[in-house]
Symmetry: C2
């Protein structure tokens, strides 16, 4: 669907998305109706229809995209600046802190469950989020490989995929058990393993 | 609730659980009714009530427990025999193979979502599964530490937690994207990192 919104229209649309996201964070996807969202964002039925002509599913998808962007935004600028070991450590702390605050409520998880894995749009949001996240980690690994701090012979994409999997698993365990230890262990072990590969490569070369 | 079932009663109860598990795997939790389960397992209403007096939630919980046991059973005997690097490699292949076959359908995930994270029983099933899984990995790590194949100075529980997180994350990515690469990368990087720690410890000692 191609629609051109004015700057003001875009701002209104964004305001509705943010209000819906807040409502869903507070009450859950299932308990949130379009009327709740209209009340919270002070929007009429015709306005809601104007911005989301395909209805609730279109709005929920926009909220999922918004929450996915937020996951990455919450890790910045650290995620984009993995250029030294203290910087990696700062990013690690940032991720742990974000999920410690979020605890059991993972809006993306709920939204995607609700929209269904079979909805191509919802799945695409998750695939895109994971892809961007992994790419940004890979940029950091590549940078450290350039400095000789990570073994240049390491498969960058695979190393980034392993670290991303550790983070996702840590978050899943946190959501299932309320404990953050697995997220911390996965990040620490993953980063230490990258670091050790660099030490090994340097000592082999010496 | 304390109830003593005869051996035959236990077998019937188990037959109902397994039939319910199969029905749920095929049609999903939401689409499965007690009538479907009765039809599949050739059970009367009073029989179902006899074995699961608290109704659908009690039955679903029993199915979740059954599926959790299955997750570990599918990794045996390899998971219990992590006593050499070829054995670790065999376990790794077993896990990858299990999830490759399972693909997007993770019965536990669906059951726990349905029962709700707020149902203490459902959460306990997941916590128990993760705990046992991690303990069995830790036994393997400890064994290899005893052989000097993994750095004896490594925090065993933390190392096991990191590896378990990598597996969970790999499974989540598989369920979200259909790609198994993250699970493979997490297992390979995790095991390689344990192995490298042993080489390092040995070379430091030499």
């Amino acid at each position: 669907m191609t629609r051109t919104l004015t700057r003001k229209g875009l701002a209104t649309r964004q305001r509705i998305i943010e209000g819906a996201a807040a409502e869903i964070r507070e009450h859950g996807v299932l308990a949130t109706t379009l009327d709740d969202i209209r009340a919270r964002t002070d929007t009429s039925k015709s306005q809601l229809f104007h911005y989301f002509p395909e209805g609730k599913e279109e709005l929920l998808l926009a909220v999922a995209r918004h929450e996915a962007d937020q996951v990455l935004a919450d890790q910045r600028p650290q995620l984009g600046e993995l250029t030294s070991w203290p910087a990696w450590s700062a990013w690690r702390d940032r991720v742990v802190d974000r999920y410690r605050r979020q605890k059991l409520d993972c809006p993306i998880n709920y939204l995607v469950s609700e929209l269904g894995r079979s909805t191509p749009g919802a799945q695409a949001v998750v695939v895109e989020l994971l892809h961007t996240w992994q790419e940004e980690i890979a940029v950091g690994i590549r940078h450290m490989q350039g400095l000789g701090e990570i073994d240049p012979g390491l498969d960058t994409e695979r190393a980034a995929a392993a670290l991303l999997a550790g983070i996702q698993g840590g978050v899943v365990v946190l959501m299932s058990t309320g404990r953050i230890a697995h997220l911390e262990a996965a990040l620490d072990a993953g980063i230490e393993s990258l670091r050790a590969s660099g030490r090994r490569a340097r000592s082999d070369a010496a």
